[in-house]
């Protein structure tokens, strides 16, 4: 029965172009399959594009903030703050006996703290051992009445 239908069909279409027939008879996927696969492909693309958009947004936001800060001198302020922090850290880390002259100016020459001579305390002679033997220094003359 099927063969008969086919034969009738092909006899009727004998003169027609085989190429057109092949294109017209192209196998079609089921609508459900197309819908499912399409959703899957779109979903994967969205995740990828979403990630890119996020990165681009963060970059743009950073650039805008930097431009705004530069407008009010924030960049210079941040740079000097950073420099000060570095100096502070350096001061802490550098050993104390090493003296470094950071700046030299006439004002520093005139008003800088001059090194003072250390006066050596003269130790008084101990009379005996312990606290009892110590002589208390007199700060005022003795009371005479």
């Amino acid at each position: 029965m099927r063969g008969f239908t086919e034969m009738r069909y092909w006899r009727r279409r004998h003169e027609l172009d085989l190429e057109a027939e092949l294109k017209a008879s192209r196998p079609q996927p089921s609508p459900d399959f197309v819908r499912r696969l399409e959703a899957e492909v779109r979903e994967s693309g969205r995740t990828r594009v979403g990630g890119r958009v996020r990165v681009a947004f963060v970059g743009a936001l950073t650039a805008v903030m930097l431009m705004a800060l530069a407008g009010v001198g924030g960049v210079g302020y941040a740079a000097s703050a950073g420099r000060d922090a570095a100096v502070s850290v350096k001061r802490v880390v550098t050993p104390g006996d090493v003296v470094r002259v950071l700046k030299k100016s006439p004002a520093i020459d005139q008003y800088a703290k001059k090194p003072t001579k250390k006066v050596k305390k003269v130790k008084k002679a101990k009379k005996g051992k312990g606290a009892k033997g110590r002589v208390r220094a007199r700060t005022r003359p003795p009371f005479t009445g």
């Binding site: 029965m1 008969f4 239908t5 092949l22 192209r26 899957e40 994967s44």
Partner: protein, 170 residues
């Protein structure tokens, strides 16, 4: 700089890839599996797509071809396993599709590949040549011959079918 997404318009691509696969392995669940597999690979390797090397459909068909070849001879043509359709409950369009599918399935592997690329995936002879690494002229000649063999297959199939049926019923 954002690169062009090869899967930006998936529906048309799905239809073309499916048509190619179905002409190669037969319409049905196997064709759907292979089409899904093709798109899974495409999603995984979408960054490797280079627009300079061709259209997205050609790239996808290359993947589909590798998927089919990777399955090897285990895969039988689904149209050979189809139940015999009854003309009374089939529309003319369905009969036509089935007849074409059976005729294409009767061709050898090479002819089927060419027919699938040309009339399933709707590629031009030049695109097929690029995909298969052959000359455009050679592809045009091969296509012409494949069509000739297909025409012969149609004739013999349609005429021998009633005889076979009669013999089977005896």
């Amino acid at each position: 700089m954002l690169r062009r997404d090869p899967l930006a318009n998936p529906e048309a691509l799905i239809r073309r890839v499916y048509a190619y696969v179905a002409y190669r392995v037969g319409d049905g669940p196997d064709a759907e599996d292979l089409t899904s597999e093709t798109f899974e690979r495409a999603i995984r390797y979408r960054k490797s797509y280079d627009p300079k090397k061709g259209e997205p459909v050609a790239w996808l068909l290359g993947i589909a071809k590798r998927c089919i070849d990777g399955r090897g001879p285990m895969l039988e043509l689904a149209s050979e396993n189809l139940d015999e359709p009854v003309a009374s409950d089939l529309e003319e369009d369905a009969v036509r599709r089935l007849t074409v599918s059976r005729a294409v399935g009767a061709l050898d592997e090479r002819d089927r590949e060419l027919i699938a690329l040309r009339y399933g995936a709707d590629l031009t002879a030049r695109q097929i040549a690029e995909l298969l690494g052959a000359r455009t002229n050679a592809i045009e000649v091969a296509l012409h011959r494949a069509l000739g063999r297909l025409r012969e297959t149609f004739g013999s199939d349609a005429e021998s079918e009633p005889v076979r049926k009669r013999e089977a019923s005896r």
